[in-house]
Symmetry: C2
Subunit: 157 residues, 2 copies
């Protein structure tokens, strides 16, 4: 077994802290979305769909998720009246997602709460340190992405 180095221990700390922060951020997102009858996942889908009528597959690509996951979320949003599916005259396979008035209203409300929340947090941290942290996390992200898993390639779905 490899002996732990200082850097190894520090990187392990980073991993644990990312997990912890991720959980807290998801929780906060749900609290911001809940008053409008949404969850984090549904808010995100509404947010993407807000930029114009899009297909479920397009939303999935934008969010880095599977079509099938977004479909499920979109179906729930449609069931609850936040969005509607519209046939696409140019592609007989596709149905496009369009926000309803209720969907737009809910999205605006969540976005407003979100802005207030983020600004409140941002005001309590040092901007230079914040920027450095974002840069470091981006480095870590590209580090994790850099060695593309040998063997299999990108899947098409």
């Amino acid at each position: 077994m490899a002996r732990w180095t200082e850097a190894g221990r520090s990187f392990t700390d980073l991993i644990l802290e990312v997990f912890r922060l991720n959980g807290l951020l998801l929780e906060a997102g749900d609290h911001l979305a809940a008053p409008s009858g949404l969850t984090s996942a549904r808010w995100q889908v509404l947010g993407v769909a807000d930029h114009g009528p899009v297909t479920v597959a397009q939303v999935a690509r934008t969010m880095g998720l599977r079509r099938q996951s977004v479909q499920q979320t979109a179906d729930a949003l449609a069931r609850d009246g936040f969005l509607a599916f519209v046939d696409d005259p140019d592609d007989r396979r596709a149905r496009r997602i369009a926000l309803t008035a209720a969907g737009r209203r809910a999205l605006r409300a969540v976005e407003a709460r979100h802005a207030v929340w983020v600004e409140g947090l941002a005001a309590r941290v040092d901007l230079r340190a914040l920027r450095a942290t974002v840069a470091a996390l981006r480095d870590a992200t590209s580090l994790l992405q850099s060695p593309p898993p040998r063997g299999r390639r990108r899947r098409k779905d």
Copy 2:
């Protein structure tokens, strides 16, 4: 709607980067665990149970999860022969989790792969920047935890 400040935008970047990194880390964890027939979640449970016979509820508290979630994972691990439940003579409600030989073997193998992986990554980053990043994330974590949601208190379960 609140106008976005520099710090607000930067904090938003931080959030997005944490989400991205979390996804990549989970994926990497699954890749480390898979060769031994485990997933990230099952590896974590085995790891906690390795420190001695523990109840499901104790594991859940250690991991910051619900009893019920850990129970499900533990049942799956027992079904696959990685651990066994043993009656506790001191508490007739409780059954304690004990790793089987196969469970210990799998855990050791995953931990060895994990150590190699972490050290490989850690060697490619600057230690000072890494430490600063961990500290900054810890600040963010405590920032998110500091304002305890008014109204309801800790739940007992």
